[in-house]
Amino acid sequence: MAAATSTFKPMDHVHGDPLEIPELACGAMAGSKPYVAAPGQQEALGFPGELVENWQEKAINRLGELVDNSRALRVFLDSCVKCGACTDKCHYFLGTGDPKNMPVARQDLLRKVYRRYFTWSGKYVPWLVGAQDLTKDVLDDWYSHFHQCSQCRRCSVYCPYGIDTAEISMAARDIMDTVGLGQKYSNEIIGKVFNIGNNLGLPAKALKATLAGLEEDVEEETGVPVRFPLDEKGADILLVTPSADFFASPHMEGLIGYAKVMHEAGVSWTFSSYASEAANFGMFVGSQENMQKVAQRIHKAAEELGVKRLVFGECGHAWRVAYSFLDTLAGPFDFLDQNYPIPQHICEFTNDLIDQGKLRFDKSRNDAIRLTFHDSCNVARASRMGDKPGGQFEIPRAILRATCNHFYDMAADTIHEHTLCCGGGGGLLTDELMDVRLKGAQPRMRALQQVAEDHGVTHMAAICAICKAQFSKVLPQYGFDMESIVSVHQMVSNAIILTGSIQEQDYEAARLSVLQEV
């Protein structure tokens, strides 16, 4: 597939302005297509198994339904003035030069069909307003280019009308699913959540074994019996985290960090095997029904376990769904303790404890690391932490500064709400899309290269499972160490001084000797 035939050499592209605008390369990415979902994977989500006979009619009907039910879609499809402000804002355009990856051009793939069938001008003077019939070619274009959008919302920050291409991509994917043309990667994963409880398909038994193993490891490392509880009824806090945290590196190091913080805070908490997934790919495929079904599992788990609080681990789009949608989709959560934010982000949880002086850190344990922070799109542009706008930028950085002596931000126009996607979000984190993932990561890799050169930065922290997985793959291609991507709570885990731990003895001894010298 596309990945195999690509001649793109990341190392030749890692130097330069992260936001450099490429020359237009028409058709460059037309061949990039994810694998199509198998009939079984489609039907499990309530979609037709394969492309239906009357797909054109069905697609147009579905488009009508979606527009009737989404003010955003209707306003966005009508309002674009083709000003061009968004044309250079998408990392996939910056990385590929394919003009169909300019946000407005991506929207136009759907807009031209909307115009043709739903507007007066498109019906009677289609050539004038760029309206087009929904043909097989158009459908192919949709399948290709709506899977080159990570739904990162960077374009919506700059559009004078706030047009969010993510909403358009979600709608297009919903339409494609509805006519039987689904994406294998996302739909297979949603099926696993329904059947097993998480994206990775880890059954309760495996989870239990993993967590028991972690308890041993941490006790060995610290001398403290830090618990990793699963399905414990009556615990105060349900911690819902992306299943990658149970499985891969550097995610798991972050998970260890959560557990250490919970332990030190002295709270009772638990994971749930039924809701062992914070991620919600229902959002990626634009299916509100599936997104709601996944979200409701969390409600059910919280109710059955009888917890009082709901905390989410490090995951970008999961935090969007949790923060912005969960109460709407699966609420009300009136059985939880209303004195705490519902839901709460693990970074908020940890940062509150830091503010209250309840956590001690030995920052020198992170001295080998010169760190920067990658703002994940969905946290940055689709949610919040804390009680002020922009808390989602300040709180993770506050944690990193509390746990690490060397912290440097990347260029201002590549962080905070201007952040650049890792290149693998929105359901694109699959091997057959490696070419577009590599190219889409280029702007971020260049920004990282700059701080590496200017400040000797060696590591980049993130709070998103997808970012972490994507960076683990693309960093080596751009000449960085694979392990230079770290979890925020990995930094916490490295530096935290647990009461009664081996580290505490060293820490106290070091402090004493300093005091004696004075």
């Binding site: 309002s79 300019m102 004078p160 009308y161 949608f325 709407t328």
Partner: protein, 243 residues
């Protein structure tokens, strides 16, 4: 004959504009917004949202952050257009309010700024490959229409004066259903004909961005989903109860 034709066109244009725009606005208002999707960081309160919207509509804040050239030309064009429209109110109001008398000299100058802004935007549309790529025939025609309206207007102000008193009589006559003859000056007829065309096109074109911006959920929603349970669509709510 001429008067009748223009009178009828302006009645039609006014009806299409008001009806079409009213229908569109009704559609936007009545279409559900099922989820909270403000582009963050977003204001936490409704007064904060009003302030954000004000900055967007008056200063084009997002556009400013996106691209300084498009912002500059676009902002000049829109502000000049606002002044020009204000100035033209004098042809519909008798007596002319004090404020319009004050606006008059600025309004005249604004005519030039408006055309200059439009031409600069058009030049970008032709020269910058990215913007040329996304431009269709309607985008160029819209600019042509607006430039033609501007230039015909300026021509009447500075080159070939028209009987402006009679023009005002014509429009007052339209408003009070007591038709008065329209001068048959060709530049005037072109100017008025194009304006009527613009009014008719408005509700069927990208000019819908004008009402659209106020209804854009990424800009008009407050970031308060943890503070208040958001219920934006009956459909989702029903499904949530069932579960």
């Amino acid at each position: 004959m001429l008067t009748t034709a223009f009178a009828l066109s302006f009645y039609t244009a006014a009806l299409v504009l008001a009806g079409g725009l009213g229908y569109r606005i009704w559609l936007y208002a009545s279409t559900p917004a099922p989820l909270k999707i403000p582009t963050t960081p977003a204001p936490l309160t409704h007064s904060g949202v009003a302030a954000r919207m004000f900055r967007e509509v008056v200063f084009f804040q997002s556009l400013f952050n996106a691209n300084k050239w498009i912002w500059l030309f676009g902002w000049i064009f829109h502000m000049a257009l606002a002044l020009v429209v204000l100035r033209h109110l004098r042809y519909f109001l008798q007596p002319v309010p004090e404020i319009l008398v004050l606006v008059q000299p600025f309004g005249e100058l604004a005519g030039f700024a408006m055309v200059a802004g439009l031409i600069a935007l058009w030049a970008r549309r032709l020269i910058v490959p990215r913007i040329r790529y996304i431009s269709g025939p309607s985008d160029h025609l819209m600019l042509a229409l607006l430039v033609a309206i501007g230039i015909s207007g300026l021509t009447m102000t500075y080159v070939a004066h028209t009987d402006i008193v009679a023009v005002k009589g014509f429009f007052l006559g339209l408003m009070y259903f007591n038709w008065q003859p329209l001068p048959s000056d060709p530049v005037l007829l072109v100017h008025l004909g194009l304006v009527a065309a613009l009014m008719i096109i408005f509700p069927f074109s990208k000019l819908l961005h004008a009402p659209g911006v106020f209804f854009s959920p990424t800009r008009n929603q407050a970031d308060d989903s943890r503070e208040h349970r958001y219920v934006g669509s009956a459909r989702l709510e029903a499904m949530s109860r069932k579960a």
